[in-house]
Symmetry: D2
Subunit: 357 residues, 4 copies
């Protein structure tokens, strides 16, 4: 039991507040003798870094990761890997106006109800800044996955604008500021989000994460289900309100005939599936097909339109959040979703070999 850890064998514990001296994580259970460098971790952190284009918050954090332990001469040693990212652009004054007001949609009220004390500067522990640690952990998880397993994510919906899946091209994902796999949708989203941004508004989104090359057999029939751990992992990301595997909620609309993934023997003489409605998981255990997971992200709660709220003294008031925020926080959730998928699969590889050798 731990309030700030996730994973079973590949176990990540994060710490830090948005406006303290640093944030960081401790990653336990990593096998020894994996080559790893700070630069490799930094590569993934840079993907998540804010302020890279006009569609994400203009908060500028260098987000430089330091390896504090767990490696020796460029290799993991089997001991806990401690990573630290110093907070360099804190501008606490941005938040002082609203320090006693509960921002609707934020954790201010609930945090205060639970703990009776709150670091009001930028969300404190509830800040999405914590997710930088997940991305760093994901970089290490990928070392366990090796080259044969690929984890990739894309943004598939902003507001009512969904991509056309027939246009899906993974190579496009890196060519636009949205991680969008549908080239045709990019200009639509640009125009749409520019409008949202100029109005000081925000909008939700849906992210889809794929893991390919995952062996059949990861997971378990009942509570250590691979999909259960994925759902838990994605739901811990800030602002996530829903998680799906394969057909997800659409499965409610399908008949048994439509939803069945029929099987055949492939060219290599191995059992294979004609389709992947299951999203790569049957009965909690991976099928060998791509693991497909989607999650929804709510609109950023910090908006310029005044909202009614109350303050810590129990007075009704209004709030306008002037901080530097994302018009669509879902964009920056893409590398985070990837990281969580990588962590969960790395963990299940280890859990599987624990039991089955």
């Amino acid at each position: 039991m731990s309030y700030n850890s996730f994973g079973h064998i590949f176990r990540v514990t994060t710490w830090g507040e948005s406006h303290g001296p640093a944030i960081g994580c401790v990653i336990d259970g990593v096998p020894s003798r994996l080559a790893i460098s700070a630069a490799e971790i930094q590569h993934f952190l840079d993907q998540r870094k804010p302020g890279q284009n006009r569609f994400t918050t203009q908060r500028k954090e260098a987000d430089i990761v330091k390896i504090m332990s767990g490696t020796f001469e460029g290799m993991t040693t089997g001991t806990p890997i401690s990573l630290m990212i110093e907070n360099t652009d804190q501008r606490s004054k941005d938040y002082s106006d609203n320090k006693d007001k509960y921002r609707p949609g934020h954790a201010d009220f609930t945090y205060m109800e639970k703990y009776g004390i709150r670091d009001h500067r930028g969300g404190g522990r509830s800040s999405a800044r914590e997710t930088a640690c997940r991305v760093a952990a994901g970089a290490i998880a990928r070392k366990i996955l090796g080259d044969s397993i690929q984890v990739k994510a894309a943004l598939v919906q902003i507001g009512d604008h969904e991509i056309n899946r027939e246009n899906w091209d993974w190579d496009e994902v890196g060519n636009n500021p949205f991680w969008c796999p549908d080239k045709a949708m990019v200009p639509v989203w640009e125009k749409y989000l520019d409008n949202i941004r100029k109005n000081g508004s925000s909008i939700g989104a849906v992210i889809e994460v794929h893991a390919s090359g995952v062996q059949a057999g990861l997971g378990a029939p009942v509570y250590a289900k691979l999909d259960s751990d994925l759902a838990a992992a994605m739901m811990t990301i800030n602002a996530v309100k829903g998680v799906e595997i394969g057909e997800g909620f659409n499965a409610a609309r399908l008949t048994g005939e439509e939803n069945a993934d029929e099987m055949y023997m492939d060219a290599d003489g191995k059992p294979a599936f004609n389709s992947n409605h299951a999203g790569g998981i049957l009965g909690g255990i991976s099928t060998g097909n791509d693991i497909v997971c989607r999650f929804s992200v709510k609109p950023t709660s910090s908006i310029l339109t005044p909202r009614k709220t109350v303050d810590t003294q129990g007075k009704e008031t209004e709030i306008v959040t002037k901080g530097r925020h994302d018009p669509c926080v879902g964009i920056r959730a893409v590398p985070i979703g990837e990281a969580m998928m990588a962590c969960v699969i790395a963990d299940h590889i280890m859990l599987h070999r624990a039991q089955q050798g």
Copy 2:
């Protein structure tokens, strides 16, 4: 770490296969001096019991629960509560035809890939029969919740037929075989499902679970989020493919203005919310509003239409599943969803007081 347990303090471990002598569970961490009887647990088991109407499997299991430990003179003693339900209607012969074929949509193939051995009779450990243990555990969890917290669930969608939320009446839920809160939808579903059933087909569904009266402050800002544990819990239920909290996937379509739950001071001088888009959870912590969780259930994979598959010897073949199955397994998931919600909230009440006293 455990492959067959869930919960942190209120911790449930289940065991048993569909065609072994019995199934059961051990519930650890239950406070002492709660009055509990087998009859109270039986009440909830009877709700889940198959064969009660033509819309659920005709498999007839008495499903009589026995309390094997953890109570003394009708009160809990603080020691593990062991519950056992004997398997009485096993009819293994129903399954012998298909014992070497992998049933599409079932865990047959993945289970075999993982373990290399499989109890082919009725799904073995992967059978939904395991969920009876969850319902039993939920009955005990409700004792921890007490009278002030109410957990209720309803079926809100079968196939493309969604209820009209304006007709929602909790009192209707017990008046029809579907746990449907919309009286007007009942005849529609009846006709629709009769057709599905006669065709030997099946269809998916969506269940919605509410918990009211939950205090603000349960959960945690990062990994022990209340919504993360709910997502994990619901996703462990057989056939579930998606989980949502509050607006869920619809949050992707909303602006920050639309999604904000504004606050005011209520008549008792307490902070309150004008709406509940958040589904009762902000930043992983309960708000005091109703916890609202939905999950989708895929169509039963056992259908009468032949499906292409392969067998354990690697031969392509066809399969027809003639066993006694549910045309819409989502119906029987309603009391299971309730039970999981009750277990998660009971656990978080205990987790909260562990840390905060």
Copy 3:
């Protein structure tokens, strides 16, 4: 977190009271395809069974184990193994005289302080009867250890009478009612214990457990130390008050020169140790030498001499315990110590391969 489980991957949860309908355990994480039968488990249970000679309690329990789940056609399936032992000789009346008195040395008072309710019949959950479940779990753990790892235990001290280690002969252990490896000590203990028994008194003991054939590399440098888990495991056995590894408390008397296990290259060209002061564990990790663990067991608290105590109403009184008890409960702790050693090593084999493959 669980109050009634132990182990990480090989995880055992026990349940049951001495005077309920049954006791049992659920063993999770067991690899599939291990051949196991109830008879093999029964073999070890019979070693622990009371009433086999005049030196152990005359309480007669058949202690027949039933496998309730987790095997199919004589092989483990990878799912939780549920074992149950029905309570058949309960004689609750033996205990009714003292039901409101706190027995000195027993958990009566502390249990009541914690839970405010108590099953007074024979110790309830605190009864040593629970240890039958450990022995059953140990039988399954041995299947994971395989033939190359041997776990054996012996009684090495009763009262002031310690064995002569120069006489140590494992083959003698099964030839006497004490699990004594020193043939010369057997008649001394017989005479000594007969006297203790006739006086209605009791005496403490020391048990030593060896595991040979354990590979180097199990454990971890800091908190998942093999010796830490062994200490925890042995200390959970009823009446245990001390645990040692290798030199144990004698290490306090040794110099660095005396305590050093020097190394050399053995005939197979492998690093080896000239001695085993370390008890097979250095820095929390196994060396490849025999794991050597000792634990002390206090004298049975139930004695015929009246002792001063208080009752649940706060009145001072005296107590005499007339139940059927062991003059030296340490004797029956021998197979229990073996079982715990087997469980811990099985668990660490799985933990090691989880991380290191």
Copy 4:
């Protein structure tokens, strides 16, 4: 499951090697609104700090602790407390001579067997330097214990020289470099250890830890026993080879009559014990009496006398360890034992209220 964490609710994860940039820990589950400062933690770290007199290693580490997260304006916020101690006196060259040799009694060989890679500088992760993190965590645990619970430790034996318990005076413990409660023993130990030190030898020791003011009712009857968690905690301290509660191994020599702690009603009308052979724990649950725990520490393995060993290439060789080491590492284990006791009791206070409210 975690290889580098301990505790259930009060959960400590440590990281760092002796010769990396820093060591540190993350303490999760701490209640909010406890006043805590770096200075208070530093107070306890200074007790453990090496180089304070001629009987401990002359390695000079400033050991300055920094609070990196989890507090706001001097109060805990309920989020993980991250503490960091930079390594400032590393002198890696001291170790280069022996970098390929396995030091007898150290974890060099076993670490290499497990992980296949090793940071040879000063023990790396296996260095006792890690224990600074425990002391820091203990300082925070004491905040949970409050003023009514006192945790104190003393050194009671060095080599064959045991204190006279009749001279026990807690006030003397701070007056000598050994944490010795027996004033008369101090000059004996001084002379004895001076001799050990001059010879480049080392010697073992026994530490005794008391916790007074602990409420009755902490712990559990079976696996969450307070004594089991204490045994595990103490056994994770470097060089510890044995742990005892109350009479410990001496219990083997006692009769039931001698070992019984008789009860009476005290002046306040509460049940009390005439003696404390149990060491404050009966059936795994605290009695309200002082918790008494002893542990043995082996002699420092680094000595000046050449020892036979092998190197990583499989060659036989000799080794002399010239680094700066402790003649009796047990001395510095005193504040560590205190810290572990404080952590375990804090954790069990939280575990108890989780279940029992």
